[in-house]
C-alpha cells in the first residue's frame, strides 16, 4: 500500500485516495471548436510511461481535494505532489527513470 503525501493532510495511506489518471490534460475552452481527431485525442489518448508520470490524485477519504503527483511507475516512488493548476517544482520530467538511490528514494524516509 502506497503512502501518498496529500498537500493538505500530509502522508496518508493509499486506501484514502483515488487515482484520476494522467495530469495536465485541460478540458478545451471551446470543445465544439476542436476537430474530431483532436477531440478523440483529448478523450482517449494517454501516456503510459515507464518512469516518472504526472498523475491526478484525489484525497477522497480525507480532505476531498484533487492534486497532482509525479510518480515513478517502476518503483512507485513519488517525486512530489503539488496543487491542481500548478507545475511540478522538482524539475523531474515525465518519462525520467529514477536511479535506485535517487533523493526521492523513500516515501517513509525524510
Amino acid at each position: 500500500m502506497l503512502l501518498i503525501a496529500c498537500p493538505n493532510c500530509g502522508k496518508r495511506p493509499e486506501t484514502e485516495f483515488r487515482c484520476g489518471g494522467q495530469a495536465h490534460i485541460a478540458r478545451p475552452a471551446d470543445p465544439m471548436a476542436v476537430d474530431d481527431g483532436g477531440w478523440s485525442e483529448h478523450l482517449f489518448v494517454r501516456a503510459n510511461p515507464k518512469g516518472v508520470h504526472a498523475e491526478r490524485w484525489c484525497h477522497i477519504h480525507g480532505c476531498g481535494r484533487w492534486f497532482n503527483a509525479l510518480r515513478d511507475t517502476i518503483s512507485d516512488r513519488f517525486v512530489e505532489t503539488y496543487p491542481i493548476g500548478e507545475q511540478p517544482k522538482s524539475g523531474v520530467k515525465p518519462g525520467t527513470i529514477l536511479g535506485p538511490n535517487s533523493a526521492t528514494q523513500s516515501e517513509t524516509r525524510a
Partner: protein, 995 residues
C-alpha cells in the same frame, strides 16, 4: 512419562510442566516449551509423513520455518483443523491432535509408496508429458487422480469458529527477527527514543542465542546477555516486542504485513482473545535481521527419516534437551557443523563427523572436535544412506583431488546431521524490490541495493560470526533510528566458512540415484539436470517445469542447491543464472488472518434506511442495491414474487402505494454560480428553472454517454436539491467535485451530500393527495398551487419537509423528504392515514415494473456506459442554444452521429403471457447461419398486471426505424417473435400524472 530420547539435563523446556498431545491417535508426552517436532523426537519418532510424489517415508529435517517435510494436520477442536503445519514451529500443548499426511491406509504402510518404485516414470515435467492425451481424459480421469493422489493435507470442512484481529501500526524502526543482530539493533534504536517494533516468529525471542549454550557475550553466557537485553527492551515504553509474529510480506513504502499467533499455544479453555492478529505496519525504517537457512547436502537417499540439518540437531539437543539419536554422524562441507558435533559430544552422544573438505582446508574446529573425542573423516564424501523408515547408516567414501571416490564404507548411525553451508534469508529484502548481489566468498546472494528505507543485518546479509552479528545489528539499528552510534561486542568466535558443493561427489551412476534437492515437492538433482537438457535455461522455467521451490516452503532449503545445479549444467556462473522471484508470504498465512474481522455482518457495510425495520416487520423481502438493502416486495398470505408484484402494481395505479426511496443519492448544490455549474454538468437548461420547480436532469460523461439521472429541485436562486440514482450517488458527487476543483475553480459553488440527511417516502397513486392532506401543514396541495414537478417546503406531522410532487410511476405522486431520524414516525403516520384509502407498501420490483410500463429508463439497466441521450430518445431535452456541457462535444463524434445505433424501443411478444429474459439477444432472421447478426438485447422485461400482458424494453439497432416491425428474441428453447413498439405501455397520453 517416558521420553527415551529426552536428555537428562539442558534445554529451555519446562520439565515441571508436562504436556501430552496426540500424534496419529497415540499420546505423545513432552514439556511446555517443546515444539511438536521436539516432542516427537524426544519419543524417538522420526517417521512423520510421506512425501508428496513418491510417498517416501519422511522425517523432521529442520527445527524452524524452513522445514519442508514434517507437515502435519493439527486439530484444535471442531472446525479448528489446519493442514500443512510444520511440526518444527507448532508449539506443543495438551489437547492438540496431530496427524501425518499424504498416506493411505497408514503412515507405516502406505500403498502410494508404489510410486517410489515407479519413479523412473515420474520424471521432471511428468504431468505435462503424461496427462496431455487424450484430451477428454483430463476432467474425468487425470485431474481426479492427481487431486486424490497428490494432495498435501486436507482442507477443513467446517467454518472456522475462531476470530481474527487486524491492527494498523506505525513505528520509526521495525526490526524483523530477534536473534543477536535484531536484538542489538533493537537496543540501539530503542536508546534513541524512537518508536521500535521488534517482531520474531518464534515463541521466545533470541534466535540462535536460544541454543547457543557455549558462547559468551561481553564476558557473560549468551543466555544471560539475552535475558538482560530482553529485560532492557521490555522496560521501554517506546518498544513493542512481538513474539510469535512472522513478517511475511514487504510491500510498497515500507508497509510490512505480519501475523501474530495470539492464542494457538494456549489451552483451548483460556483464550479470551483472537486466534491471530494481522499487523499492518508502516515503518519509517526497517531492519531485516531474519538470519539464514542451512543447506542440506545433496546425495543419494538424503531424505531418510533421521537425517536432519546439522544445526537443527544442535537446536534439538541444546534448546529442547532432546537427542535426535544416540549414534550421530555429521556430514558437512563447512565449519558450523563442528559446533553441533561438539555440543552433541558434550551431551554424551556418540559422534562421527565426515567432512568433504581436506584436512588442510579446515580451521580450528577440527582440532576442537577431535579433542572432544569424536572421529573426524576429512576429505570424505557421502554417497548414500541405509535404512528405510529410519536411517541406519551413512555410506561414505574418500574423495581424491580428481573427484574420484575411493572405497565405500558404511558408518552405522541412527541420526545424521548434514550441512552444506548457509543461505541468508533475503526473502523480505527481495520482496521490497531490493537488488541482490552474489558474494562468492560465502557462496550466497546477499542484499545489495535497497529499493526502500531498509537495511539488513547479521546473518541475513551473510555475517555469521556472533560478535560481528551483534555489532552489525547495533549499527543497523542505530542508523535506522538516525544515530551514528556504534558498539563493539566481544563474543566467542563462531565456526564459519564452508566449501560450496551442489551435489556430493559420487561414484554411482547419477541417473540411477535419487538425491533430493526439494524435499517437499520430491524434486531430485536428476530432475533438474533433465529439465536443463530438455532446453529449460531460465531458472524461472526450470522452477515451474520441475516444481522445485514451488511447495509451501517456497524452497527455503532447496533454492541455492537447485540454482547451483542449473548453473553447473549450463556451465555458467551462479549470478548469471540469477534467482527466482521471492514473493509474499514468507511462510504460509492463514486465510483467517488475512480476512480479519471482515466476516459475516462485517464483510461489507450493509446499508439500511430508517424504514428498514418497519419493512422487515411487514414481511418484506430485500434485495441488494450497491451496499444498500432495499425492500424488494411485500408478500401477503404466502404470495410469490409474481403474485405480490401484480397486486402491488395494481394497487398503485388504482389507489395508492407507499415506497421507501431513501436510498436515492442527494446533493445540496449551493452558491452564486450554482445554476451555471448545473448548466455545465447536465444536458438540460437550469437558468430559468424557477425556485420551487423541478426538472428531470440527465448527466453525461465527457465521452457523451449517460452517467446518471435524477430529479432536481431548485430550492432558491442559489440552491439546488439534486437527486441521483441509488448506486450513482458517490460517483456523481465525485464527478461534480472533479470538474469543480480541476476545471472550473472560478465557479463559486459548494457541494454537500445529503443522501442520508433526508429519508424519502414516495407516495404514488390517484389517492396520494388524499392520504397526505391531513398531515401536511404550510403547503397548498391543490393541483393548481402544487403542480407536477414542483417542490414545496412545509411540515408533515410537525416535521420539516421538502415535499416533491414527482412521479416515477406515471401516477400522481409525492416524494416526502424528511430528516432521517423522523422518517419512521412520518412513514407510520402516512401509512395510518392511508388505511382508509387501501394504501399498499411496495418494493423495488413493483417500482421497476411501473416505471417500465411508462418507458422510464433506469441508468445501468437501459444504459450500459455506451448509450447516448439520443439512443434513449432524450435528445430533445438538449436546448439548441446551449453551447457547451460535459459530453456535448462527444455527441457530434462520428460514431455517435452514425446511423444504425442501438435505440430504445418497446417489444411486445406474440404470446402476451411470455415474459422475455432480460439480456436476451435480438435478431431479424432466425434462418441465418450461425453466428447470427445480433441487433441488440432486451434491457427490461416484466409481467405487467396493469397491461394484462408482458412488456419489454430493448436496445435495438436502428430501433425507431423498425416501429411495428417484427424481430426475434432468444428464449431458453430457441426464439420467439416480437413486435417493435413505442417504449410506453400504459397511459400513453400521460394524463394521469397531472391529476
Amino acid at each position: 512419562m517416558a521420553q527415551p530420547f529426552r536428555l537428562s539435563r539442558g534445554g529451555r523446556v519446562d520439565r515441571t510442566r508436562p504436556i501430552v498431545f496426540e500424534f496419529n491417535g497415540k499420546p505423545v508426552h513432552g514439556y511446555a516449551g517443546d515444539t511438536v517436532a521436539s516432542a516427537l523426537l524426544a519419543n524417538g519418532i522420526h517417521l512423520v509423513g510421506r512425501s508428496f510424489k513418491y510417498h517416501r517415508p519422511r522425517g523432521i529435517l529442520s527445527h524452524g520455518p524452513d522445514e519442508p517435510s514434517a507437515l502435519l494436520s493439527v486439530d484444535r477442536g471442531p472446525g479448528r483443523i489446519d493442514p500443512n503445519n510444520r511440526a518444527s514451529v507448532v508449539e506443543a500443548r495438551s489437547g492438540l491432535r496431530t496427524t501425518s499426511q499424504n498416506h493411505w491406509p497408514s503412515l507405516d504402510f502406505d500403498v502410494g509408496a508404489v510410486n517410489d518404485l515407479l519413479s523412473p516414470v515420474f520424471v521432471a515435467g511428468f504431468y505435462y508429458k503424461t496427462f496431455m492425451w487424450p484430451r477428454k481424459f483430463w476432467d474425468r480421469v487425470y485431474e481426479p487422480f492427481i487431486r486424490a493422489a497428490a494432495g498435501l493435507g486436507k482442507a477443513p470442512t467446517e467454518a472456522d469458529p475462531d476470530r481474527y484481529a487486524n491492527r494498523h501500526a506505525h513505528c520509526d524502526v521495525l526490526i524483523v527477527g530477534a536473534g543477536p543482530a535484531g536484538l542489538a539493533a533493537a537496543l540501539a534504536a530503542a536508546r534513541t527514543g524512537k518508536r521500535v517494533i521488534l517482531a520474531d516468529e518464534g515463541p521466545e525471542p533470541g534466535g540462535s542465542l536460544l541454543h547457543d549454550t557455549t558462547a559468551q557475550i561481553d564476558g557473560r553466557p549468551a543466555a544471560t546477555w539475552l535475558a538482560e537485553t530482553l529485560a532492557d527492551l521490555d522496560g521501554r515504553e517506546n518498544v513493542i516486542l512481538l513474539p510469535r509474529t512472522t513478517a511475511f510480506g514487504y510491500y510498497n513504502h515500507n508497509h510490512v504485513a505480519m501475523t501474530e499467533r495470539v492464542s494457538d499455544h494456549l489451552p483451548s479453555s483460556a483464550t479470551p482473545g483472537p486466534r491471530e492478529r494481522l499487523w499492518q505496519v508502516r515503518a519509517g525504517e526497517v531492519v531485516l535481521a531474519g538470519g539464514s537457512h542451512e543447506r542440506p547436502l545433496v546425495f543419494a537417499d538424503n531424505d531418510r527419516p533421521g537425517i536432519l540439518l546439522a544445526e537443527s540437531v544442535r537446536v534439538f539437543i541444546n534448546r529442547y534437551g532432546v537427542a535426535p539419536g544416540r549414534k550421530l554422524v555429521f556430514a558437512t562441507s563447512g565449519a558450523s557443523a563442528y559446533q553441533a558435533a561438539i555440543d552433541a559430544r558434550d551431551a554424551g552422544l556418540d559422534v562421527t563427523l565426515v567432512d568433504l573438505r581436506l584436512e588442510a582446508d579446515c580451521g580450528p574446529e577440527l582440532a576442537q572436535l577431535r579433542a572432544a573425542g569424536a572421529d573426524v573423516l576429512t576429505g570424505h564424501t557421502v554417497v548414500g544412506s541405509k535404512g528405510r523408515k529410519r536411517v541406519t547408516g551413512l555410506i561414505v567414501a574418500p574423495v581424491g583431488s580428481d573427484g574420484r571416490c575411493g572405497g565405500r564404507r558404511i558408518l552405522p548411525c541412527d541420526c545424521v546431521g548434514m550441512s552444506g553451508g548457509w543461505t541468508p534469508a533475503v526473502h523480505l529484502f527481495s520482496q521490497s524490490r531490493g537488488k541482490l548481489r552474489y558474494d562468492e566468498s560465502i557462496d550466497a546472494f546477499v542484499p545489495s541495493i535497497s529499493a526502500q528505507a531498509e537495511r539488513s543485518a547479521g546473518a541475513a546479509r551473510g555475517t555469521y560470526d556472533l560478535a560481528a552479528c551483534l555489532a552489525d545489528g547495533f549499527a543497523a539499528g542505530a542508523a535506522a533510528a538516525g544515530s551514528d552510534a556504534r558498539q563493539d561486542f566481544t563474543a566467542t568466535a563462531t565456526f564459519t566458512g564452508f566449501q560450496p558443493v551442489r551435489i556430493m561427489p559420487t561414484d554411482a551412476n547419477p541417473t540411477k540415484v535419487r538425491a533430493f534437492v526439494d524435499y517437499q515437492n520430491d524434486v531430485t538433482a536428476k530432475d533438474i539436470k533433465l529439465a536443463v537438457r530438455e532446453g529449460f535455461q531460465s531458472i524461472e522455467h526450470v522452477k515451474r517445469y520441475t516444481t522445485t521451490g514451488m511447495a509451501t516452503d517456497q524452497g527455503k532449503t532447496s533454492n541455492m542447491n537447485a540454482l547451483g545445479i542449473v548453473a553447473g549444467q549450463l556451465d555458467k556462473a551462479l549470478p548469471a543464472v540469477g534467482t527466482t522471484t521471492f514473493r509474499p508470504p514468507y511462510t504460509p498465512v492463514t486465510f483467517g488472518a488475512l480476512v480479519g474481522p471482515a466476516r459475516h455482518a462485517l464483510f461489507d457495510p450493509i446499508r439500511t434506511t430508517p424504514i428498514h425495520e418497519w419493512a422487515e416487520a411487514h414481511g418484506a423481502l430485500f434485495e441488494n442495491v450497491a451496499l444498500w438493502r432495499r425492500a424488494w416486495y411485500f408478500p401477503k398470505n404466502g404470495e410469490d414474487l409474481h403474485a405480490a408484484v401484480a397486486r402491488e402494481c395494481k394497487a398503485v395505479r388504482e389507489g395508492v402505494g407507499i415506497f421507501d426511496a431513501s436510498t436515492l443519492g442527494k446533493i445540496e448544490i449551493v452558491g452564486r454560480d450554482a445554476a451555471e455549474f448545473m448548466n455545465r454538468l447536465y444536458i438540460n437548461p437550469w437558468t430559468k428553472l424557477a425556485p420551487g420547480r423541478c426538472r428531470y436532469g440527465l448527466m453525461l460523461k465527457e465521452d457523451g454517454y449517460i452517467l446518471d439521472d435524477g430529479v432536481v429541485a431548485r430550492v432558491s436562486d442559489e440552491c439546488f436539491h439534486v437527486t441521483t440514482t441509488t448506486g450513482g450517488a458517490a460517483r456523481v458527487l465525485g464527478h461534480m467535485e472533479d470538474y469543480l476543483q480541476t476545471e472550473w475553480p472560478e465557479l463559486e459553488v459548494f457541494l454537500t451530500s445529503t443522501t442520508e440527511q433526508w429519508a424519502v417516502i414516495a407516495l404514488q397513486g390517484p389517492k396520494a393527495r388524499a392520504v397526505i392532506a391531513p398531515l401536511v401543514d404550510g403547503i397548498d396541495l391543490s393541483p393548481e398551487a402544487f403542480p407536477h414537478m414542483a417542490m414545496r417546503t412545509g411540515t408533515i406531522c410537525g416535521v420539516p419537509t421538502r415535499l416533491f410532487r414527482v412521479s416515477f410511476t406515471g401516477e400522481l405522486g409525492f416524494e416526502i423528504n424528511v430528516p432521517a431520524d423522523h422518517a419512521r414516525a412520518v412513514w407510520e403516520a402516512v401509512f395510518e392515514s392511508g388505511q382508509a384509502h387501501g394504501i399498499t407498501p411496495y418494493g423495488t420490483e413493483t417500482m421497476h415494473v411501473l416505471r417500465a410500463e411508462k418507458g422510464y429508463i433506469i441508468v445501468g439497466q437501459e444504459t450500459d456506459g455506451t448509450v447516448t441521450p439520443d439512443d434513449v430518445g432524450m435528445a430533445g431535452m438538449i436546448p439548441k442554444a446551449k453551447k457547451d456541457f460535459v459530453g456535448k462535444r462527444s455527441l457530434a463524434r462520428p460514431d455517435v452521429v452514425a446511423t444504425g445505433r442501438k435505440q430504445l424501443v418497446g417489444l411486445m411478444t406474440d404470446d402476451p403471457k411470455l415474459v422475455l429474459d432480460e439480456g436476451a439477444q435480438i435478431v431479424a432472421d432466425t434462418n441465418q447461419p450461425i453466428p447470427m447478426r445480433m441487433l441488440g438485447h432486451v434491457t427490461s422485461s416484466y409481467w405487467s398486471a396493469n397491461c394484462g400482458r408482458s412488456i419489454a424494453l430493448a436496445l435495438v439497432e436502428g430501433g425507431r426505424e423498425r416501429m411495428n416491425g417484427q424481430l426475434f428474441v432468444t428464449t431458453p428453447d430457441g426464439f420467439t417473435r416480437v413486435t417493435v413498439c413505442e417504449p410506453v405501455f400504459f397511459d400513453v397520453q400521460g394524463e394521469r400524472i397531472n391529476a
